[in-house]
């Protein structure tokens, strides 16, 4: 993340919408703007109070083309909105030539753009993290909005952590729900704690995110789809039913940025496009992943550089499909380079919150890519994966 260089001296901020968009109802806009501010107040002691008149900290208006600040809007597309940093007043302007929408994949989602702009109003610049709200471009409607850990760290760097913290600590985005929200807070406790085979033995073979955003855990001949805090209803299912042609007892799996999912077992690997095998598989690992050993422990794609990391025993290999050779001669390297991680891992996954999680036995470790070490937390890592990931009693 990046900070612009200024912030508000007070935590109780006021705002008003001095000009509403032409195509939306005022009450709906009020609710979405409040919800967008709540994205930031959830993780800090900041409060945002709407006013209808008088001076305020943040003035919001929907305007078109030249609107008095010297930075004219450019019609539909292009620049969607802009906001001034605190030292320049904090006001937020939205281009009313856009088709502002609420809860719809059509047009431009008001809530997401407003939450981004208010980040600027509070002192945040654009982040290098693509998944962050403060990335410089609008990625389209996200029905389930989650604030990236990068954004949380950014806002807390300016305003500190919320003094009355909710959530369970697995994810910095846990905590209170947004008001009038259509999204749900992630990692809230499951309604009905589970008690099944996975809970009795939470050691897993592999864990990966699919191209459509689901997270799956593989164990033996079964697989589980994970929800925010547990296992989805109706699971486990048979791997042979879910991924026809794939055997059980998988060693490792990951989904690459081409959307294909790769599974590894023994000396072989399979490539799947969704749930269908993507050609003539299995193939030898030595054929498709030159320089990577057989009989892997774990694999993952690290979002920081898009490279693939393979783990086996006390060593890891970094694989870059775009380079020749794809594994540099300086590999393998010791897993001890990843501060706090044990050898002989079972599974690895970069989760949607930006943290990287490693699983071994019945426990997991949360690795912080920013400090490049296993996180210090209370309770400390490793933590029991049954309780924190699989919704077990």
């Amino acid at each position: 993340y990046a900070l612009q260089g200024s912030r508000w001296r007070v935590k109780g901020l006021t705002y008003k919408i001095s000009k509403y968009p032409k195509r939306l109802k005022r009450a709906d806009v009020d609710a979405e703007i409040l919800r967008a501010f709540s994205v930031w107040s959830e993780f800090t002691d900041l409060t945002f109070t709407p006013k209808t008149s008088g001076p305020v900290h943040i003035e919001i208006k929907f305007v078109e083309s030249e609107h008095g600040d010297g930075d004219a809007f450019d019609g539909m597309g292009g620049t969607l909105a802009h906001a001034f940093f605190p030292v320049f007043g904090g006001d937020a302007h939205f281009d009313d030539a856009e088709l502002w929408t609420i809860g719809s994949p059509r047009g431009t989602n008001l809530f997401q753009v407003a939450a981004h702009e208010f980040g600027h109003s509070l002192g945040l610049s654009h982040s290098d993290v693509r998944s962050a709200l403060m990335a410089p471009f609008y990625r389209g409607f996200e029905p389930v909005f989650k604030l990236d850990s990068d954004d949380v760290l950014a806002i807390q760097a300016l305003y500190g952590k919320r003094s009355t913290q909710g959530g369970n600590g697995l994810n910095p985005t846990s905590g209170g729900a947004y008001p009038k929200t259509t999204q749900k807070p992630i990692f809230s406790p499951p309604k009905t704690p589970r008690d099944d085979q996975l809970c009795r033995d939470p050691k897993i073979d592999a864990l990966f995110n699919s191209a459509d955003g689901e997270t799956y855990a593989f164990k033996g001949n079964k697989y589980y789809r994970l929800t925010e805090n547990s296992v989805a209803d109706g699971y486990p299912k048979s791997i042979s039913d879910g991924w026809p042609g794939l055997p059980g007892d998988i060693d490792a799996a990951f989904t690459y940025k081409n959307g294909k999912t790769y599974f590894f077992k023994g000396t072989k690997y399979w490539r799947f496009n969704g749930r269908s095998v993507d050609g003539d598989y299995p193939k030898e690992i030595s054929e498709g992943f030159t320089g990577v050993p057989d009989h892997l422990d774990a694999a993952m794609v690290w979002g920081g550089n898009g490279k693939i990391y393979f783990f086996k025993g006390s060593k890891f290999w970094r694989f870059d499909p775009l380079k020749r050779p794809p594994v540099k001669s300086s590999y393998p390297k010791p897993i001890s380079n990843w501060e706090g991680l044990p050898n002989s891992l079972d599974a690895a996954l970069q989760y949607t919150n930006g943290y990287t999680y490693f699983f071994k036995g019945d426990k997991y470790y949360r690795f912080n890519d920013r400090t490049f070490a296993v996180d210090y937390a209370d309770p400390p890592f490793p933590r029991p994966s049954g309780h924190w990931w699989f919704g077990c009693k």
Partner: protein
């Protein structure tokens, strides 16, 4: 007031607006904006194409490295010269 490092993204935004790939407002230090994804990607792609790089639309290491090199910044009446000036 905290003065921290400027993100790679912000450096790229300033550069791309300076040379005509993004709106001039992207280098206004008093505000931050949000672009639609296609505008951003096209700006990066246009620069990569102009510079003879692989056209990926991603701010990869090679692209950022090229942006950090000294280059001609011919000024015209409206500011810096643009890579995108059209011929009459």
């Amino acid at each position: 007031v905290y003065t921290g490092p400027v993100s790679t993204t912000t450096q790229a935004e300033i550069y791309l607006s300076q040379f005509g790939y993004l709106p001039a407002s992207a280098r206004n230090p008093s505000l931050g904006g949000l672009l639609d994804a296609s505008t951003w990607t096209k700006a990066v792609q246009d620069f990569q194409s102009f510079a003879g790089l692989n056209v990926t639309g991603e701010l990869d290491e090679e692209t950022m490295q090229l942006m950090s090199l000294p280059r001609c910044g011919v000024r015209d009446k409206v500011g810096f010269g643009s890579d995108n000036r059209s011929k009459r």
